[in-house]
C-alpha cells in the first residue's frame, strides 16, 4: 500500500538538561549553555570539560529489567528516549498489533565499556569481562530496545557522523511507505567519557562534548506534525568540501513559510560553523542552535535538533521547521517538518 505522508507520532529526549522532552524544552527556552562538569583525564593535571546527563529522578523502571540493569549509559539513554517517543503504542507493539521497526544511529557508540574492556584486555585478557564485551557492540542498544518492546521486525543500527540520524529518518519513512513495518522508532544516541572527549579536543580545543539520546517515532497515523523531506546526503569528499556540501543541502530546503524555524548544528565555534553559516546566510526566519545549550552530543545532538524542530511545531510556535546537520566528518544533510494543524 502506498503511503502518501509520514507523521511524527512521538518524540523523546535524554540530554544534559535531564530525562525527557520537558526539561530539554525548558533548557532551550532559557537560551543559556548548561553548566559544564569536570571529566578527569589520566595524565592531565586539568580535567576535561563536558555536559553530562544527570542521574534520573526517579530512576526509570526499565533500568531494573534483566537486559538493561548492567548496560552502558548509551543503552539507558536510548531506551528512555525511545519509550518516551513511542508512548502508549508500546503496549500495541507488545501485543503484536503493530510491526515496529527500529533504526538506531550512533557515532562513537559504547565508549565507556569499550575502553573498560580493552583496558582489561591489556591488563590481563584472562580476566576481561564477558559481561562487558557484548555491550561494546554497536547494535547492543537497539537489541535491548527491541527486546524490551518485544518487536521482531527489521532493526538496523547505522554508524556514521551526526547526519546519519537524518538518513535514519528517511530509511524509516521508506520502510513504512513500502509496508515493511507499520511504525518505526528512529533513535540517535552517544555517550561520553574522557577518551571520546579527548579525541575531539585534538580537533577543536574549545568544543564541549555532551551525551544523551533523542528519538522520533514515525508512522502513518495522522498527527499534528508531518515529516516533509529529508535531503540528499552530501558527502565531504576530495572533490566536494564542507562548504559545497552544506550549500547543496540548504538549496534542497527552500523556505515556503514566513514563520519558519531553522534548527541548525552550529555551536559557536567559528571554524567548525563556517560552512553551515555560509550555507544559511540568507535565512530569514528564526534560528535555534541546540548545541549552544546542550553541547556537542554527536548523534544525540542531531536527534535533539529534530526533537526541537518537532516540539516547536507541536507547541504551535512555528508552522514549518528545517533541520540542518553539517556533520563532523561525513556529510551535510537536512530535513523539513511542518505543522498540519488547520
Amino acid at each position: 500500500m502506498a503511503v502518501s505522508s509520514i507523521y511524527v507520532n512521538g518524540i523523546g529526549a535524554v540530554s544534559p538538561a535531564g530525562w525527557g522532552v520537558a526539561p530539554f524544552r525548558d533548557a532551550l527556552a532559557k537560551k543559556q549553555a548548561l553548566p559544564d562538569q569536570d571529566l578527569a583525564r589520566p595524565g592531565f593535571a586539568q580535567p576535561l570539560r563536558y555536559r553530562h546527563v544527570p542521574e534520573p529522578q526517579p530512576r526509570p523502571a526499565f533500568l531494573a529489567t534483566p537486559r538493561l540493569r548492567r548496560t552502558s549509559p548509551i543503552s539507558q539513554y536510548a531506551t528512555a528516549a525511545a519509550l518516551e517517543a513511542i508512548g502508549s503504542d508500546c503496549e500495541r507493539v507488545k501485543a503484536g498489533e503493530l510491526r515496529l521497526g527500529i533504526v538506531f544511529t550512533v557515532m562513537s557508540g559504547c565508549v565507556n565499556y569499550s575502553r573498560r574492556f580493552y583496558d582489561e584486555t591489556l591488563c590481563d585478557p584472562s580476566t576481561a569481562s564477558p559481561l562487558v564485551f557484548p555491550e561494546t557492540v554497536f547494535n547492543a542498544p537497539s537489541s535491548h530496545i527491541a527486546s524490551l518492546l518485544g518487536t521482531k521486525a527489521i532493526n538496523y543500527t547505522i554508524v556514521g557522523d551526526p547526519g546519519t540520524f537524518l538518513q535514519g529518518l528517511a530509511l524509516a519513512a521508506d520502510w513504512i511507505t513500502n509496508d515493511r513495518v507499520d511504525t518505526c522508532l528512529v533513535i540517535g544516541a552517544d555517550e561520553m567519557d574522557w577518551l571520546g572527549t579527548d579525541a575531539y579536543r585534538i580537533f577543536q580545543p574549545k568544543i564541549v562534548l555532551s551525551d544523551g539520546a533523542g528519538a522520533v517515532y514515525l508512522g502513518k497515523k495522522e498527527s499534528p506534525v508531518r515529516m516533509d523531506a529529508v535531503t540528499n546526503s552530501h558527502l565531504f569528499l576530495q572533490t566536494q568540501n564542507r562548504h559545497c556540501a552544506a550549500l547543496k543541502m540548504s538549496l534542497e530546503l527552500p523556505t515556503t513559510a514566513s514563520d519558519a524555524l531553522l534548527c541548525d548544528s552550529t555551536q559557536n565555534l567559528i571554524k567548525l560553523d563556517a560552512a553551515e553559516n555560509a550555507a544559511w546566510q540568507n535565512w530569514q526566519g528564526s534560528r535555534l542552535s541546540v548545541k549552544n545549550v546542550m553541547g556537542e552530543g554527536l548523534m544525540a545532538a542531531a536527534a535533539w535538533q529534530c526533537v526541537a524542530a518537532v516540539d516547536a511545531l507541536q507547541t504551535g510556535q512555528f508552522s514549518q521547521t528545517n533541520v540542518s546537520v553539517v556533520g563532523c566528518n561525513q556529510q551535510a544533510i537536512g530535513a523539513r517538518f511542518s505543522s498540519i494543524v488547520k
Partner: protein
C-alpha cells in the same frame, strides 16, 4: 531527496555485475575459488597483536598486499588506511573493475562492518595513556578509526559521491548491507549500488570472543557433533548491484540475480540465539516469501554456521523447520570452517561464495567436519562436490539478534 523519493511503477530485478573478495585464502575470485574448491583451511597463529595470554591463539589472518590498487585516492590517504580499509579497497577494486562502472555521481554505498578500523582505535587509546601530553598522529588515528572514513575513501578512490550508509548489525552486517542495497534498487531509490562488508581482526574483538569462550580451543567444526566454538577471520567482499535493465543496456556480464531478502530480530538474548531458531526461521521465511520460492527450490544453503554449540543447534533447528520434509534434499555447508568468522564481512563474503558455487558449479564444503551433528536433518557438504543448481540461500545471524537471509539466482 532521500525522502520522499521517486518511485518506479514496476519493481526492477536486481543483478550482480561485479564481485570482489579478500579472505585468508587469498585476494580475488580466482584464489578463493581454488581454495574453496579443494576445501582448504587458512588458520594460523595471530600476528597483529599479542595473543600469548589468550586462551586461543589462532585465526584466519590475511597477508594484506602491501601494494594498493591504483585509484583516485591520494597517497596521503592511502598511507593512513589500516588493515580493514585496505582490504575493503582491494575487494572494491576487483568488483569495480569487473562491473565496468565509471566514476560518476549518485552511486550509493551500503557497507556492513562491526568494528571498522578498531586497531587504530586501540592505538589511539594506548598512545593517550602512554604519552598523554603528545597528540602526535592522534588526529589521524581517530579519524581513520571511524568506519565512515574508510567507506568515504572508497568514494574518493573510484570517484563517486554516495550517499553512504554503514550498517552495524554485528555479524549480520554484511548481509543486511546487501539486502538494503537490494531494497534501494527494488524501491526505485537507486539504479545501482556499491555494497559489501569488511572487518579486520583486532585485539579487543579477539579478546571479546575469547572472554565469552566462544572461540574454539581445538578446531572450528561447524555442525559437528563435537564442535566447541568458532574461529575468527578477517576480510572484505564488495558487490556492484544494478537493475537488470541497466546491466543489459550496458552489455555488462551478469553474475547472478538477487531474488530475496529477509530480516528478523531475535529478542531472546544479547548474545545467544533463540534455542529453536525462531528468528532465523523468520528471516528465511521472509526471504523465500520475497523471492516467491519454496524451500525445495533452494539448491544450496551457505549457513551462518559459526561452530558454536548454540548457534549451530539453533540454525539447524530453523533449517529443519523451514524446509520440513525437503530438508534432506538441501545441501548445507559453513565456509567459516575454511576462512573463519569474518564478522561484519561474513555475510558479504558468503554471498560471493554462493556466487562462486552458482557460477563454478560446485558446493564448497564444511572443510573441518568430522561427525555431523544428528540434529541436522539436511546433508552437510563435507567434501568439495560438483553441482549445478539455480538458487542459493545464505544466512547471517549476529549479536543483538540481527538475523538476515539472502537468496541468489544463477544467471544463465
Amino acid at each position: 531527496m532521500l525522502f520522499p523519493s521517486v518511485k518506479q511503477s514496476a519493481i526492477p530485478r536486481v543483478v550482480i555485475t561485479g564481485a570482489g573478495i579478500i579472505t585468508a585464502l587469498g585476494l580475488g575470485w580466482k584464489q578463493n575459488v581454488e581454495g574453496f574448491r579443494v576445501g582448504q583451511t587458512a588458520f594460523r597463529p595471530v600476528t597483529p597483536f599479542d595473543v600469548s595470554r589468550q586462551r586461543v591463539k589462532t585465526a584466519a589472518e590475511i597477508d594484506v598486499p602491501a601494494e594498493l590498487p591504483r585509484t583516485f585516492l591520494k597517497r596521503k590517504a592511502e598511507k593512513r588506511l589500516e588493515r580493514a580499509g585496505k582490504m575493503l579497497l582491494h575487494a572494491a577494486h576487483e568488483a569495480w573493475e569487473q562491473s565496468g562502472w565509471k566514476a560518476s555521481d549518485n552511486i550509493p554505498v551500503v557497507l556492513g562492518t562491526t568494528s571498522g578500523g578498531m586497531s587504530l582505535g586501540e592505538d589511539f587509546y594506548r598512545h593517550a595513556l602512554q604519552s598523554p601530553t603528545s597528540d602526535f598522529q592522534q588526529a589521524s588515528r581517530v579519524t581513520y578509526y571511524q568506519s565512515q572514513r574508510q567507506a568515504m575513501e572508497l568514494c574518493n578512490a573510484f570517484g563517486f559521491s554516495g550517499p553512504l550508509m554503514l550498517i552495524a548489525n554485528a555479524c549480520a552486517s554484511g548481509t543486511n548491507s546487501i539486502g538494503h542495497a537490494y531494497d534501494l534498487i527494488r524501491t526505485g531509490q537507486a539504479d545501482r549500488v556499491l555494497t559489501g562488508g569488511f572487518d579486520a581482526i583486532s585485539h579487543l574483538v579477539f579478546s571479546g570472543f575469547d572472554s565469552l569462550q566462544a572461540l574454539s580451543p581445538t578446531r572450528c567444526r561447524p555442525f559437528d557433533a563435537h564442535r566447541d566454538g568458532l574461529a575468527l577471520g578477517e576480510g572484505a567482499a564488495v558487490l556492484t548491484l544494478e537493475t537488470l535493465e541497466e546491466a543489459q543496456r550496458r552489455g555488462a556480464t551478469i553474475l547472478a540475480e538477487i531474488v530475496g531478502y529477509g530480516a528478523c530480530t531475535d529478542s531472546h538474548h544479547l548474545t545467544q540465539p533463540h534455542p529453536q531458531g525462531d528468528a532465523a526461521l523468520g528471516s528465511m521465511n521472509a526471504a523465500t516469501e520475497c523471492a516467491g520460492l519454496q524451500p525445495r527450490q533452494i539448491g544450496y544453503i551457505n549457513a551462518h554456521g559459526t561452530g558454536t554449540p548454540l548457534n549451530d543447534a539453533a540454525e539447524a533447528g530453523a533449517i529443519n523447520r523451514w524446509a520440513g520434509e525437503q530438508a534432506k534434499n538441501i545441501p548445507v555447508s559453513s565456509t567459516k570452517a575454511s576462512i573463519g568468522h569474518t564478522l561484519g564481512a561474513a555475510g558479504s563474503i558468503e554471498v560471493v561464495i554462493c556466487l562462486m558455487a552458482l557460477r563454478e558449479n560446485f558446493l564448497p564444503p564444511t572443510a573441518t567436519l568430522e561427525t555431523p551433528d544428528p540434529l541436522c536433518q539436511f546433508p552437510i557438504v563435507q567434501k568439495p562436490t560438483a553441482a549445478s543448481f539455480e538458487y542459493a540461500l545464505t544466512n547471517s545471524f549476529g549479536f543483538g539478534g540481527a538475523n538476515a537471509t539472502l537468496i541468489l539466482r544463477r544467471w544463465l
